[in-house]
């Protein structure tokens, strides 16, 4: 195969590639990550690039006429033929994601509720490190090394059996003698057995760590926890490297079916966690081999990919995961760069579309132990929700679509630097003020910005209750091809030299998304014949909530119109529940119980959801009596 020299602008980085390779693959190979929702199928239109010189083969695909006209092509559907120069626009780049594991909320935004994480649980870490001083063997006291160790260990631990993996057993004799019979033994207890995961000379009890990981489709967040003190030593987050294979779970599932797709997705997510481990260990001067246990929580597809299980049937009717109760694995089995014998626990899933991240959320918010009737909502690409208390728990998932994560929206983007997160529209002048993440020039709009945008467009009378645009006397209102749009940021003020607009199609898209979430909530209530009034508390979870303006969300009919004081923003409960399980063995047992106890409602099985969905395709709803405060 002939080689071509491919130069990427504006970096001006050149790389040799084989003729016939796609521009996207070449960019990936040198670490330039492009957006993609479709798993390189050419259907999402998000990896647009501009070929500035040289010959390529353009296989076409779904690209907006706007971009086509300006000379863009899809990087995933364009193969290099000779030396080429390619410009990658900012909006096609997968920038370093702003994963805020903590932030000070702004005025008007619901503050994240501080959870008393251990409340009701004893501090009894899932991995314990015990310092032992053994008596050396003699000719009359000649028990084997393993027996000598376990007899002493049992004095400190309540467990019926002790198991030691071969690699540790193989070095046991030298470890014990080299340490003069004084060692620290780290064990993970599972059922009636203590599994030895590490043995170190001397007293290293204070140096044993655990990793709590929230494996999100978009972002991965990790806490490094000292298992001796229970303290969080450090927090880190980054985007899921799987993003180059598709933005949402569906495109990942499709990609997993490609040759080597599953392996690549598995390696990508493990590589993401390893990157966080690297960062945390370097920053906090922790030896990675002292991380003796990990607990991960993620949606069912992510959990499958972490373990290398094929997610194929999650997507196909009747939507069956390989496993919901996911088995613990060892770090070396998964390729995690921590103590190779460390156990990696996965939160159990409930069903294909209600995963361990939700179970984790229910655990750490104590919904399953509460007397209060609680509605727990986690809105991402899917809206997952749980209704219940200590007596029962019902759960369902509705396909909100990627709109709230910026997918399918002309200038939609994830909650990254440069994303518009807050919008104000003057109802008389129609002038717009925006606020972006990182206070940099706007390059797009993220989920919370979009919710704000819909609310403000409606306030200003620019759209009607169905989302249809109403002409207003402002140059910001204009026609694009055959449909109307509204300019939020002029090209000169934007970071991409283009007008950032919201189109009527975008608005309709968002209405469908918010309608799905609201219909999900209504369906769940109907299933148990309950009214909104019985709900004592609504918990909003997920990174999405970080930026959410609650009043706006109610105004557009995304969230139920109940007194705002019933709402609590609980943040990334997925990682918090994982953290809790590191601190309490009992908590993880409770998580398994929660997974089994939740009743999953498959919304596609009846007509309730569809009826509710259609009713919710208005701003805020067809039935205005459901939104008294909005219509008041």
């Amino acid at each position: 195969m002939a080689k071509c020299l491919v130069t990427f602008l504006p970096e001006n980085i050149s790389v040799e590639a084989e003729q016939g390779t796609s521009i996207k693959q070449i960019a990936n190979s040198i670490g330039i990550a492009l957006k993609s929702t479709c798993g390189e199928e050419g259907t999402c239109g998000r990896c647009a690039v501009k070929v500035k010189g040289g010959k390529v083969i353009n296989l076409g695909g779904n690209l907006s006429s706007r971009l086509r006209k300006t000379g863009h092509v899809l990087a995933c559907r364009t193969l290099v033929e000779e030396d080429v120069v390619v410009e990658i626009p900012k909006e096609s780049r997968l920038d370093e994601h702003q994963v805020l594991v903590e932030e000070t909320p702004e005025k008007g935004v619901l503050a994240e509720k501080e959870l008393d994480l251990l409340s009701g649980y004893e501090f009894d870490p899932i991995c314990r490190t015990v310092y032992l001083e053994l008596s050396p063997p003699t000719i009359t006291e000649n028990a084997s090394d393993f027996t000598r160790l376990t007899v002493e260990l049992r004095k400190h631990l309540d467990c019926q059996h002790v198991r030691m993996p071969l690699p540790i057993l193989r070095t046991l004799a030298e470890t014990l003698r080299g340490a003069d019979w004084k060692v620290s033994v780290s064990v993970v207890r599972f059922r009636d057995t203590a599994h030895v995961v590490n043995i170190q000379p001397g007293d290293t009890t204070a140096l044993s760590y655990g990793l709590a990981v929230d494996v999100g489709t978009t972002t991965v967040a990790a806490y490094l926890v000292n298992l001796h003190t229970g303290e969080v030593v450090g927090k880190a987050g980054t985007y899921n490297k799987q993003a180059i294979y598709g933005d949402d779970v569906i495109s990942r599932i499709i990609y997993a079916n490609e040759p080597n797709g599953l392996e690549r997705l598995h390696e990508a997510v493990i590589g993401t966690v390893n990157e966080l481990v690297d960062k945390l260990c370097t920053e906090h001067q922790v030896d990675r081999t002292n991380i003796n246990v990990a607990v991960t929580a993620g949606n069912t597809t992510m959990a499958h990919l972490v373990l290398g299980l094929p997610p194929k049937y999650i997507r196909l009717d009747p939507y069956i995961p390989t496993a919901a109760d996911l088995p613990p694995a060892t770090a070396k089995e998964l390729g995690l760069s921590i103590d190779p014998e460390a156990w990696v626990f996965s939160f159990p899933a409930v069903a294909s579309y209600v995963g361990g991240d939700i179970v984790s959320g229910i655990l750490c918010t104590r919904v399953s132990q509460s007397d209060q009737m609680t509605l727990f909502i986690d809105i991402g690409t899917n809206g997952e929700m749980v209704l219940g208390n200590r007596d029962f728990m019902m759960t369902c998932a509705c396909s909100a679509g990627p709109a709230f994560e910026g997918g399918g929206i002309t200038f939609g983007m994830r909650a990254m630097k440069g994303a518009i997160e807050r919008i104000d529209i003057d109802p008389t002048t129609y002038e717009v003020t925006v606020q972006t993440i990182g206070r940099s020039k706007a390059i797009g709009i993220c989920g919370s910005g979009l919710i704000d945008c819909i609310a403000k467009l409606r306030d200003a009378g620019i759209i009607d209750r169905t989302g249809k645009f109403q002409p207003v006397p402002s140059e910001r209102y204009r026609m694009n091809d055959e449909s109307p749009e509204f300019v939020l940021v002029w090209a000169k003020d934007s970071g991409i030299d283009k007008d950032i607009v919201i189109t009527e199609a975008d608005v309709k898209n968002l209405i469908r998304s918010k309608g799905a979430v609201y219909a999900g909530i209504r369906s769940l209530l109907k299933m148990v014949s309950m009214d909104l009034e019985v709900i004592d508390k609504i918990l909003i979870a997920g990174g999405f909530g970080n930026y959410l303006n609650l009043a706006d969300a109610v105004k557009i009919g995304l969230l139920p119109d109940v007194p705002l004081e019933k709402y609590e923003f609980v943040g990334n409960t997925s990682v918090k529940g994982a953290h809790l399980c590191l601190l309490s063995q009992k908590a993880f047992e409770d998580a398994l119980e929660i997974g089994r106890k939740m009743t999953y409602i498959e919304l596609s099985a009846g007509t309730t959801f569809m009826d509710e969905f259609v009713s919710a395709l208005f701003l805020p709803h067809t039935d205005l009596s459901l939104f008294p405060s909005v219509t008041a």
Copy 2:
């Protein structure tokens, strides 16, 4: 490094080797196995070869003057310098060992007692294969694949938990769907958990196999057992490939300490078992991946080497193994070429010199369940013995030395083809009649032949009670250097063109060996203040017993002088106990119990053994009252 062409005779096989490589290593590399007891230390003098041409560097070492005079060198201590021609004498070769897993005993030899293996146990294999017909999932009956399988599995198995290794879980979705939800699941039960080791489409319950393995220092024997019927499908045996690194456990332990020594020994023994698996599977048309479980029994050192555990401290005071209760491992961890997820159980050891082979023997002979006071003896390089019944069990090991396996005896050899196993000496003419294994020309003498030899030399008055030679009027009696010897086979009748003799030193060696065994038995009895009379039954185990003439063994004072009907020859109880555990899960639990229940007596800890040993250095003993039938 320069290359040398090394030619081996009489095969006339040539091979290129690096200058400075030892002849032994070069021979090994092309599959010519040479004898060795010392782990290539140059001390055992058994790898003698003759350099017929070319230059070598002879590093010396321990070689008899007889061989030195005839131009022999030690292969392990001789390095090639240029192209050389090397002749390998028959007696230096590690011939294919005659491992008889079954044979018809000859007249005068104790017949192997047929054990009723399962007696008292239910047929409840340690690995069960269950055929399941699952109902396919629907939108309302949407449990995960794993849950669907385990719910059904639990109807057939009594177990609290089900665990499935990741590799099986990773293919579960396709396996179930490809099999139209009808699968056979093989599970190994361990404690309260059923571990899935295999899933196959359709009903394959009749095709699940187990492997019972006796891992001896010298030989390895394996039974292939159908786990559906309990039937032994085939038996096979071969010599332990570790033999090229040393003949006995001590030289193996020393070799394990060399760089890569442990890995080589581990691979050698696993390779040996794999060879047997190959043979059995080919002969009986069994798919190796249908062998779903293995149970191995061996002495403590062999058990360590099977698992890749360092045996170093077994040999050093105070003689501590890494583990006595050895953990189960998976076939893939060990490199066994059967179902990669198969569990490999090891019989527990009691101490460094009383291993799982003895526990296995006690299990299958029901010593631990018997009312009869039983003495169980397994004589190899070490003599291991157990005294007890259902109430108590004491055990000890005495270093019999390698004499009974042919080590340290001028023409000693293992029980291989051409070994003298039976001798008669006419007390008037001193003419000798010998019988060899395989009825071929004699090339040496094996253990049973040596016992016979001592008895007959004494009968004929050629040696006195201390083993000292007495001149007799026969040309067979002669002086060699400064000490006497007796010719058993003349060069013209032998298979090695040399006179096969037994020397005074050989006889003294054998007396030390038999003395050690007898002293062990006496020490054990003293420890519990019992007399020989209380023993109801003496069980002789091990391959050694196959050829043993009982009357001779008593006559030389190796075995106690009790009525011969109290003796039972129970054969290779190590492999039989392993077989039993394949058939009964309960039996394996009993084995663990036996391992814990036996009290180990370290003979080197007191003076009793030494006193008894000195007393036993006569034929049959200093105290003739102990051998009334011999002196009568």
